[in-house]
């Protein structure tokens, strides 16, 4: 046996130790970003999710003006937390449509009555089919969609106050 070989186990140990230590110290990243960013919104037509807002189809998202598509649900707690930020976005001139995931109309009506309704159109996605087709992995998420109906940006999780300028900038970029 050559002399250097005696150091091999220690070397291997240190290599694995370094690998595991870096994996433990690196902040946990569980966000699954959509690979649909840069692609057109998939074709869909969903029924209306709320009593006082029209239904939503893919044609409504290609109107020549950039829009936001908010993926939310009445049973989702962070969706209520982002309601003031969506209102702020609407006041800043953003057009916001929404899709309610696995929801029912009375629940959506109650949710919007309680937290406010910043949406122009709301589609009801009872089987998460649009959510899966968009590559969205949970609620809430917000997509920036340009005038041609192409997805330009995905915001994962609830919109915090500091995210509002970022989303407005992405909307302006999509113009």
């Amino acid at each position: 046996m050559k002399r250097w070989a005696i150091w091999l186990p220690l070397g291997l140990f240190l290599a694995f130790f370094g690998l595991f230590a870096s994996g433990l110290l690196k902040p946990d990243d569980r966000l699954i970003t959509s690979k649909m960013v840069g692609k057109p919104v998939p074709q869909f037509a969903l029924p209306a999710a709320a009593s006082d807002r029209p239904a939503l189809s893919s044609a409504d998202l290609a109107t020549g003006q950039p829009r936001l598509l908010n993926v939310f649900a009445s049973w989702c707690v962070p969706c209520a937390a982002e309601a003031p930020q969506l209102m702020a976005l609407k006041q800043a001139g953003a057009q916001i449509d929404a899709v309610a995931i696995r929801d029912a109309r009375p629940d959506v009506d109650r949710f919007l009555g309680r937290w406010g309704n910043p949406y122009s159109r709301i589609g009801l996605d009872a089987r998460s089919s649009l959510q899966i087709a968009m590559g969205s992995s949970g609620v809430p998420e917000t997509f920036v969609i340009d005038g041609k109906g192409v997805i330009r940006h995905q915001h994962i999780g609830d919109i915090r106050a500091e995210d509002v300028p970022v989303i407005l900038a992405k909307l302006a970029e999509a113009r």
């Binding site: 690979k35 049973w75 707690v77 029912a104 899966i132």
Partner: protein, 139 residues
Amino acid sequence: MTVRGLIALILLVLATPLVAQTALPPAPYADRQLDDPRLEAKARDLMLTIRCLTCQSQSIADSNASMAGDMRSQIRERIAAGEEPEAIRTWLIDRYGDWVSYEPTAAPILWPLWAAPVLLLGLGFVLMRGRIRRRKGKV
């Protein structure tokens, strides 16, 4: 058990979880097998290798998350409609990236994974040859 303990227990049983999932019933084929066992086997093999987006270390076949249920139902319906499992896998990878599939691909980042068994076998062979030679030398 004291009366107070009993009341606490009853309240605990009746309490709804804070982070509740949807109240909607599961999609039709989320927890129901396809009638054709051949198609069901196809769907099942695919579902076992598709990763759940909610509970990220389970396959959608194992997960109780509502989104996993919706994905199971969609996969069964699409397989019943004649779609091939690999086409559905590609469709999902187009949306969520390689992340969503447990089946390793031939992407360059995975080459070390495929090369490892060959390298280890080669190493074993070299070690074995060395041993045999040394033993022969002794005799």
